[in-house]
């Protein structure tokens, strides 16, 4: 049985400009021990998807569809059951570890009390375990860390403490929302290595939200690319890099500068990322897509599953070879999209 299943999850948020749709029909599943990356730009709904799992979406949001965690629909749970799920089955690691720790308690108290409360351990046993956990997340000076207050520790150290606390209750599912975005790159590398190692060791499934496709590729079994509140493609990292099937995925891969080689001009996606409520019918990506055909403006593509991966593109079949083969700067040429599209693109798209 899958640890987590999202079935046609839709989220509308009332605002002063009327209801705003942020998710429109997100469906995904997560097997035990599997890591799934949710990758997208701002407005794609990646974080909002994560928040529907623990029902921490913004106040007033209306969510439809099913979020099934270990066979139970989270959306219909009572308050007590929901609290139990939040305490036992799922843990969340967010971008800001400082928000997770009480600033006036030492790390030792945060960890030991958490363990005593959750598992009814004695203080001595809990202290021993807390020290073990800290050592496991690569903290060299455990004594010093245990005796520190949160403000005395760097962001990277705090995120390790949060990870240690997260794995302590051995949850079946780990929700990680951009856990390393606020960290320096070298610290990010270390924290991700620890997170990845601990997750595998404890056999936890993970939903990993990030804007960084490469980072997700490194630690996830499968990746779901989101755009404007919809999943546009799901595939393994290897499949995505070798042969993306959605134009957005291809362009996302290409428009990121390459650390190994410089290109004369970066291939760009014209315009800016939009949110679900800005879709004007047809394919959400059509207005920015160099491969868009007239019918893309009219028909709404469905997420089509095929051999373990899925794509939401009307022209996926015809474009398969082109999207797979073309290296960075050729892609735009083949399609006839002018290389300088990006210059004016952002202002003229959808104008």
């Amino acid at each position: 049985m899958n640890v987590l299943e999202l079935d046609d999850v839709r989220l509308d948020l009332p605002s002063k400009h009327g209801d705003r749709t942020l998710l429109r029909g997100v469906s995904l599943s997560l097997a035990p021990g599997e890591a799934l990356g949710l990758v997208g730009e701002s407005g794609s709904g990646k974080s909002m998807t994560l928040r529907t799992v623990l029902r921490t979406e913004p106040e007033g949001a209306r969510v439809t569809g099913r979020v099934v965690l270990d066979g139970r629909d989270v959306r219909t749970l009572g308050a007590a059951d929901l609290r139990r799920v939040r305490a036992d089955a799922v843990t969340m690691i967010s971008q800001n570890p400082r928000a997770a720790l009480n600033p006036v308690l030492r790390v030792s108290r945060f960890l030991v009390e958490g363990l005593c409360d959750a598992r009814g351990e004695s203080r001595e046993a809990a202290t021993r375990r807390a020290r073990d956990l800290l050592a496991q997340v690569g903290i060299a000076d455990v004594d010093r860390c245990m005796a520190s207050y949160p403000h005395q520790l760097s962001g990277g150290m705090l995120q390790r403490v949060v990870i240690a606390a997260a794995v302590a209750s051995a949850p079946r599912l780990l929700l990680a929302d951009e856990p390393t975005t606020a960290l320096d790159v070298t610290t990010q590398s270390e924290v991700m290595a620890i997170l990845d190692g601990q997750r595998r060791e404890h056999g936890m499934a993970m939903l990993f939200v990030t804007h960084d496709l490469e980072l997700a590729s490194a630690v996830c079994d499968r990746i779901a690319v989101l755009y404007a509140g919809e999943i546009v493609e799901i595939a393994t990292p290897a499949q995505l890099h070798a042969a993306p099937r959605h134009p957005y995925t291809r362009l996302l891969l290409d428009s990121r500068p390459n650390i190994a080689a410089r290109v004369p001009a970066l291939p760009v996606i014209p315009g800016r990322p939009i949110a679900a409520y800005e879709i004007e019918g047809g394919c959400a990506f059509a207005s920015r897509c160099p491969w868009a055909a007239p019918r893309c403006e009219r028909e709404e593509p469905a997420l089509v599953h095929d051999a373990g991966r899925a794509t939401r593109c009307l022209r996926a079949g015809e474009l398969a070879d082109e999207l797979a083969g073309a290296p960075a700067d050729d892609a735009a040429d083949v399609s006839g999209a002018p290389a300088e599209a990006g210059r004016d693109g952002e202002t003229e798209a959808r104008a």
């Binding site: 002063k16 400009h17 315009g271 800016r272 939009i274 800005e278 952002e346 202002t347 798209a349 959808r350 104008a351």
Partner: protein, 288 residues
């Protein structure tokens, strides 16, 4: 971005935003404030009685066609005294809030612009002012400069400065660190120009919110001072003074004066507090 977004007048619909932030209760409070202000302004049109003159023969009358709310211990028309009393009460509070807002904003801008030593110095001065209870400061001022509305409003304004300055300083500091202020600074524009042209408009909402909240407190404090006989002097009409003058009549079985004036104070203060709270909550520059 899209033309669609550009055409959406998201930022310019200020009036609509205001109504939305106030909500039904806030709008009702706003209506109450407007009504009181209007009544105070139009006092001569509503009543023909002089609030300061009465005849002892007509003292302690109940409501009648001639005196809608009756008369006080000196036979003065209570309605007239309430209406004209609103003028002094509102004006006094307005002056306090205006001076305190201006002083607070000035200190905040100076602290934010110069930072470091100047900021620390401003902080110490504020701490010092915080140490004085508001009323004590006002009483001190009266002891030195004599009784009167002018003296106590200025004294209260000074007492209110730290409350507004504390909040405005933190907002101004946040703005000071933003790119647009730094960009203006690096063009070689003077601190005065950058503070007035760039920072001030962006902390204006907090100044206004703080003013709305403090207005209520200022009314209470002024009424208290008048009650103690330190503020408005008889025979001028003032709500606080009316409560005070009515307290003897209260024992003689004529509660009207104290009750009417007290109700007016409570309603006005509540209305201003609601508006202030709706505009920005307690974090936005309130006294307490």
């Amino acid at each position: 971005m899209t033309a669609q977004t550009l055409d959406r007048p998201a930022v310019r619909r200020r009036g609509g935003d205001l109504a939305e932030r106030l909500g039904p209760l806030g709008l009702a409070a706003l209506a109450v404030v407007a009504l009181i202000t209007l009544a105070a302004l139009c006092a001569p049109l509503i009543t023909s009685h002089d609030p300061a003159v009465g005849s002892v023969i007509e003292r302690y009358q109940g409501p009648s066609a001639e005196h809608l709310l009756g008369t006080d211990q000196s036979g003065r028309d209570l309605l007239a005294r309430l209406l004209y009393g609103a003028r002094t009460s509102l004006l006094g509070a307005a002056v306090v809030v205006l001076l305190a807002g201006a002083g607070g904003a000035l200190l905040a801008l100076v602290a934010a612009w110069f930072g470091r030593t100047v900021d620390a110095l401003v902080g110490r001065v504020l701490d010092l002012l915080f140490a004085f209870p508001n009323l004590l400061l006002a009483i001190l001022a009266v002891a030195v400069f004599g009784t009167g509305l002018g003296q106590v409003t200025v004294a209260l304004a000074i007492a209110y400065v730290p409350y507004t300055a504390r909040v405005l300083r933190s907002v101004a500091l946040r703005e000071r660190r933003l790119g647009y202020v730094q960009a203006a600074e690096l063009q070689g524009l003077s601190g005065l120009v950058v503070s007035v042209r760039h920072i001030l408009p962006n902390i204006a909402p907090q100044i206004l919110t703080g003013a709305a909240i403090n207005f209520g407190y200022a009314m209470i404090d002024l009424a208290a001072l008048s009650f103690l006989g330190l503020g408005v002097q008889p025979p001028t009409a003032d709500w606080g003074l009316m409560v005070s003058q009515g307290k003897d009549s209260l024992l003689q079985g004529h509660p009207q004066q104290s009750v009417f004036a007290g109700v007016c104070i409570v309603v006005a203060v509540a209305a201003f507090s609601v508006i202030g709270e709706r505009l920005g909550g307690r974090k936005a520059g309130g006294r307490a």
